[in-house]
Amino acid sequence: MSLISLKDIYKIYNVGGEEVRALDGVNVTIKENEYLAIMGPSGSGKSTLMNMIGCLDTPTTGLYEFEGEMVNDMDDNQLASIRNRKIGFVFQTFNLLPKATAQHNVEIPLIYGNVRRDQRKSMAAAALESVGLGDRMHHKPNELSGGQRQRVAIARALVNNPSIILADEPTGNLDSKSGREIMEIFDALHEAGNTIILVTHEDYIAAHASRTIRLFDGKIKEDFSKVA
């Protein structure tokens, strides 16, 4: 059974009376434990597609099914809930809360998920352990390196045991060494059975994935799977 199914997805904006088709009839199916890279030049619609998959946005027309749930018809609360439970976000700029410790940052999705405090603490600690930051739990973001910050963000994405991890240019703000480390973590997460979707315009990042989708002008130009 497919985890994510996008059928005939259109996202149309009206910019100054002109119709802009950010997504122009996209069809994608993503299965469990896939390792997918979404690529494309800027303006190709890859951000829009990522937002769509991440349930931050809903299509103008088309059907989006996430684990059998229809995302099209969801209101803001339902979208928030599905993001909270099923999607782990990793951003290019980490987006950590500057005043909170690593542990507290990782706890945030659990707070919105209404998880009890003691359980929250141990889940956050476990997630930080799993990205190798067990000894940095009580550090604040400004006391951590860029790579470490992104690892906190990955821990935050993982902590809720999401169905997919959605990473938007996760190495874009990192030096190559830290970037490699981050990619190793993603590879390991994939090995462990997670579904990972990377948005990137770097071929060597996309090379980690087993499947690559290239977008151009809102359409899928290429959908290529490596033979394992």
């Binding site: 928030a80 993001r83 909270n84 976000f89 987006n95 005043k99 945030i108």
Partner: protein, 404 residues
């Protein structure tokens, strides 16, 4: 939901502490508002207390027959030309009035008293009869009032107020001791309980009561006189009418002429006082409302700034699963927290202020008012935080995440 509440509170506290100066300046309107309302409350409570006590001294069932009106629109120089109140009319009133229960003539004179090296200037020397004890609300603390016989015989006996006892007879039993009023020697037979100040103006304890015969012989030619009449409290208006008629008759006032005397009662004090209270309350209320409104606008403004500054944080939180309502609550909580801090700060200042006020006249900060004030400051937080929080809640997560 509880953990979310704690989280929101945590965020609010850290946001307020991270911008201490900004928070304080923002909350200044609330601080001033709360300060105004509580200080006003304290002041009024103190005034109430002092007023009640002063009115107790006057007694609500006593009519004071005097040359001068206590209140009214008559010019003082018109009243000055009135004949003095004659002491002997007290006897006539006692005989002829149906409503008068007790009648006591009063003569007053201010002079100095002394004993050995101690002396006090400007002591009120009241000459009256033994009936005064039945009219006055001040209790004799030690000793006794003078008797009818002592009154008639013009004895040099005195009942002294607390100030006199404290100053002339420090740590001593004054009863039976002698002292000087002017050049005359008097013996202390009684001590009055402490009465405090009359409307905060002059001390009721700096007083000596002596028999009226003695008083007239020694001082009255220069002082003023009056008659205090205690009546049945339920018949006050009837009694006033009767006494007016009686006094007009005694003083030969023609039907076409105005009264040339005054029947004073405590009720005009009450009217005056409620007007003063209304004025203080009104002013305080006005200042409070004004500063809370201005403060509220300031808080709304700073909350809009905060929401703007933290747009990316809002986007991140939404991506991580915060619903619009959760975001709304977060910023509402922050706004309430700022106001609450402001309110507490204002209360702390007011508490200090009330201690100072208390130095001058006894008062206390009303607890209910303090709690109401805190509630009020939270309400300001809710109202002024509503629009910015709503804006935050409605932000599109994609735009918010992209915001630089």
């Amino acid at each position: 939901m509880f953990s979310l509440f704690i989280e929101n509170f945590r965020i609010s506290i850290s946001a307020v502490l991270a911008n201490k100066m900004r928070s304080l300046l923002t909350a200044l309107g609330v601080v001033i508002g709360i300060l105004a309302v509580t200080l006003m409350g304290t002041l009024i409570s103190g005034l109430d207390k002092s007023f009640e006590k002063s009115m107790e001294f006057l007694g609500k069932d006593v009519i004071y027959i005097r040359k001068y009106e206590w209140f009214g629109d008559k010019e003082w120089w018109e009243m000055r030309n009135r004949p003095n109140i004659k002491i002997k009319h007290a006897d006539v009133i006692r005989e002829r009035s149906q409503y008068a229960e007790y009648v006591a003539p009063i003569s007053e004179w201010y002079t100095s008293v002394k004993r050995a090296d101690d002396d006090i200037n400007g002591v009120r020397i009241t000459g009256t009869t033994d009936t005064y004890a039945m009219i006055s609300t001040a209790e004799i603390e030690k000793g006794r009032f003078f008797s009818k016989t002592e009154n008639r015989s013009g004895s040099h006996v005195a009942i002294i107020g607390k100030d006199i006892a404290d100053n002339l007879f420090e740590n001593e039993n004054a009863l039976g001791e002698t002292f000087q009023i002017g050049n005359y020697t008097f013996r202390v037979i009684g001590e009055l309980e402490k009465q405090g100040k009359f409307l905060g103006m002059f001390s009721l304890d700096k007083q000596i009561i002596i028999p009226i015969g003695t008083h007239r012989r020694l001082f009255t030619r220069r002082g003023w006189s009056g008659i205090n009449v205690k009546v049945d409290g339920t018949q006050l208006d009837n009694a006033t009418e009767e006494l007016t008629a009686l006094m007009r008759q005694l003083r030969h006032v023609r039907p076409t002429e105005d009264d040339n005397f005054a029947l004073n009662r405590q009720d005009p004090f009450k009217e005056q006082y409620s007007m003063i209270k209304l004025a203080i309350g009104g002013t305080g209320f006005f200042i409070t409302v004004l500063s809370l409104v201005v403060g509220g606008i300031g808080i709304a403004n700073i909350m809009f700034v905060t929401v703007k500054e933290r747009t990316r944080e809002i986007g991140t939180r939404k991506a991580l699963g915060a619903t619009p309502k959760m975001i709304l609550m977060q910023f509402l909580m922050e706004s309430i927290t700022i106001c609450l801090f402001g309110g507490l700060f204002g209360l702390a200042l007011a508490w200090g202020g009330s201690l100072i006020i208390n130095q001058y006249f006894p008062s206390e900060m009303p607890i209910n008012l303090a709690l109401t004030a805190l509630g009020l400051s939270m309400l300001v937080g809710v109202i002024s935080g509503l629009a910015p929080s709503y804006k935050a809640a409605k932000l599109d997560p994609i735009d918010a995440l992209r915001y630089e």
